[in-house]
């Protein structure tokens, strides 16, 4: 097969695909059920995948249910995004041993080896592209992230099970596969359990050369169309993106920011589950032997210290921190990186403990474009 080719993989041959990736040296990571959620874990065969599991998502709500269906990908997205595979939640970026005359610096090796991620939704493939631009698209790439990304293999799975919190169609990131995948599968259950397979790269073609597959038929094609069209109609939410960056940029003193701040706990859950949030803190940890480590961990713009300058934080109020988060995702990300920072995965709605809905907040501002909070005046 070549890049752009399409074939069909029977359900019983899915193990062969995973085995091929493993034999080529990849760690195969995919969706598994753990702690009542679909998260990422080691997958050695199709038996590890969440057969019959479905997620029910609402703002502030996530439930898993299992039925008799053979579906392996009958769910939308879980709380874990793929960014953690490439952008470690916590890692040591360098280690130094220090004596009176000498500082010897070393960078810990990434021993884990290249990863194949199985089951990335189209919105998540887009999210990785967004992260790529931030973390390795500039003049000073994050070499640790880049090394992990360059070696990785992406098996996308087109989305047939959007949640009520999903709005990828508004963001142009799904439910069909697009962007940089090596292989894209579409799970087809009606008329025989099988997968529609698109080859997205040379590496993907090389893997398919090791996996039994058959030619596509007209009924396979229409079955995939049905899955994707059904997904679009079941998309739970939408976001009006018309002039959205401009809308938010001209409404920085809108009363809605204060209103949402009354509900927002400033807990940072949304930034943890967001597949594109990239902020990080560094701290130096030293011990008595004279070793110093610089550790980097995920950070959140909802933390008061995030904007700390001598004299205190810049963004003192919850309203200013929520505004920073939302305007960054939907408006200033365009200024900084020439694209949206939101891919419409809906995680920030689901995992917000008070169920704040980004699409609703943006719509509220649009509904009263130009409103200014009473008593608020621009600084002069």
């Amino acid at each position: 097969m070549d890049v752009g080719d399409i074939a069909v993989l029977e359900r019983e041959d899915l193990d062969m695909l995973i085995a091929a990736l493993r034999s080529m040296g990849f760690r195969t990571i995919g969706p598994v059920v753990r702690d009542g959620a679909i998260v990422h874990g080691a997958v050695s065969g199709a038996h590890d995948l969440p057969a019959g599991w479905h997620d029910h998502q609402e703002p502030g709500c996530y439930r898993l249910e299992q039925d008799e269906s053979p579906e392996l990908f009958g769910w939308a997205v879980g709380p874990a995004s793929w960014k953690s595979e490439f952008f470690a939640p916590e890692e040591t970026v360098w280690r130094a041993s220090i004596t009176a005359q000498q500082v010897t610096l070393s960078e810990p090796d990434d021993a884990a080896g290249p990863v194949a991620i199985i089951g990335a939704r189209p919105c998540e493939v887009s999210a990785l592209a967004v992260l790529d631009r931030v973390l390795m698209g500039g003049a000073h790439p994050d070499d640790r992230y880049a090394a992990r990304r360059d070696g990785a293999f992406v098996v996308a799975v087109e989305c047939g099970a959007p949640a009520s919190t999903c709005f990828c169609t508004s963001m142009g990131t799904g439910p069909s596969a697009r962007g940089a995948f090596d292989l894209a599968l579409t799970e087809l259950v009606e008329g025989g359990h099988r997968f529609h397979v698109q080859v997205g790269s040379e590496a993907g073609a090389a893997v398919m050369a090791r996996v039994p597959h058959r030619a596509i038929t007209e009924s396979d094609r229409s079955a995939r169309q049905d899955v994707l069209e059904d997904a679009e109609t079941r998309m739970g939410r939408s976001l009006d993106t018309a002039d959205l960056p401009g809308l938010l940029a001209r409404n920085l003193e809108h009363p809605r920011w204060e209103e949402v701040a009354k509900r927002c706990l400033s807990c940072g859950n949304c930034t943890l589950v967001c597949p594109t949030c990239f902020c990080s803190d560094v701290s130096d940890v030293s011990d008595v032997s004279g070793t110093v480590e610089r550790q980097r961990r995920w950070a959140s713009c909802f933390d008061l210290d995030h904007s700390y300058l001598h004299g205190g934080p810049v963004r003192l109020t919850t309203a200013s921190r929520y505004r920073q988060w939302l305007t960054h995702k939907l408006s200033t990300w365009w200024d900084q990186f020439d694209e949206s920072g939101c891919v419409g995965c809906g995680r920030c709605l689901t995992w917000c403990p008070v169920g704040i809905d980004l699409t609703e907040e943006a719509a509220a501002i649009r509904a009263a474009d130009g409103a200014v909070a009473t008593g608020e005046r621009r600084a002069s």
Binding site: G25, V93, A139, D143
Partner: protein
């Protein structure tokens, strides 16, 4: 996305120091600039320091304490070590200020945009409005401009606001620039016995400064509120807002656009700043609260 079919080939590029790893530099000089500011002279353990431009910054590491962004306060191309002037305000700056000669600190950089002094129009006046340690990022540029202007062309005006007469930073430099023909005015927040100069905010110096607002380039560096009022006063005098440059400051933990902390609206200050035009960029941001 995998570039090769087999993982064995999908390795890391040739080993090199990571983006976030500092180079070791030796402290070869230290000078007290006032009660709480120390200028450190730094030389790399190996090789020469990379070239930099006026107004750029380095990330300085006090090993075991942390890393912060500090503007370079010497001039590019000047012989000798590169200099950074550090005010002792937090844990890392405190450790840096106490670093003895001969000790090692970490340096990453240079990063950020620069004062584009080479673009100043021939013959135009140059107005520098600074507050306290805000003189440090302009010190190298001032040295070069005073040298350059001595041989003719426009004039150089330095308006500096300092805390008190005994805390006038870079007093020797200010004196030298004055001797070299620059117009130097210093005001203090709080006077002291024997102080003959003005007392008040730095913008109060502007009305008595005889620069040509229609043919000048202005640079402001200091606390944000100082830059806001300085820039506005310059505009009121008739200076084109696009001819004013300011240097922004936000929390920075990487210096290279990766950590997200230095966001200021559309800007990543480490990448798109710290030096930005006032007209069309900073004028708007200065008006927006808590960004």
């Amino acid at each position: 996305m995998a570039m090769t079919a087999t993982a064995e080939h999908a390795g890391r590029p040739a080993p090199q120091r990571g983006t976030l790893s500092p180079e070791p530099y030796r402290v070869t000089g230290r000078r007290l600039e006032g009660a709480d500011v120390v200028t450190l002279a730094l030389e790399p353990h190996h090789g020469r320091p990379p070239t930099f431009a006026h107004g750029q910054f380095n990330m300085l590491t006090a090993f075991g304490v942390g890393e912060i962004a500090i503007s370079i306060s010497s001039a590019p191309g000047a012989p000798g070590p590169i200099e950074h002037s550090v005010r002792d305000v937090g844990a890392v700056t405190h450790a840096l200020c106490r670093t003895p000669i001969g000790a090692t600190v970490g340096v990453r950089g240079p990063f950020g945009t620069h004062w584009d002094v080479d673009d100043i129009e021939e013959g135009a006046d140059v107005v520098m409005v600074v507050g306290g340690i805000g003189l440090a990022p302009l010190r190298g540029a001032l040295r070069d401009l005073v040298d350059r202007r001595r041989s003719g062309g426009g004039r150089v005006f330095v308006l500096a606001g300092m805390r008190s007469p005994d805390q006038i930073l870079f007093a020797e430099d200010l004196e030298e620039w004055r001797r070299s023909g620059a117009h130097v005015a210093v005001t203090v927040d709080v006077g002291a016995p024997g102080w003959q100069g003005p007392v008040g905010v730095v913008t109060s110096l502007l009305p008595d400064t005889p620069f040509d607002p229609t043919h000048c380039a202005a640079f402001a560096c200091g606390p944000e509120i100082m830059m806001r009022f300085a820039a506005r006063a310059l505009v009121d005098r008739g200076v084109d807002p696009r001819q004013i440059r300011v240097s922004l400051e936000r929390n920075m933990q990487c210096g290279v656009g990766l950590c997200g902390h230095c966001q200021l609206g559309p800007l990543l200050v480490c990448r798109d700043g710290p030096v930005v035009p006032y007209g069309g960029v900073a004028d708007r941001l200065f008006m927006e609260r808590q960004r």
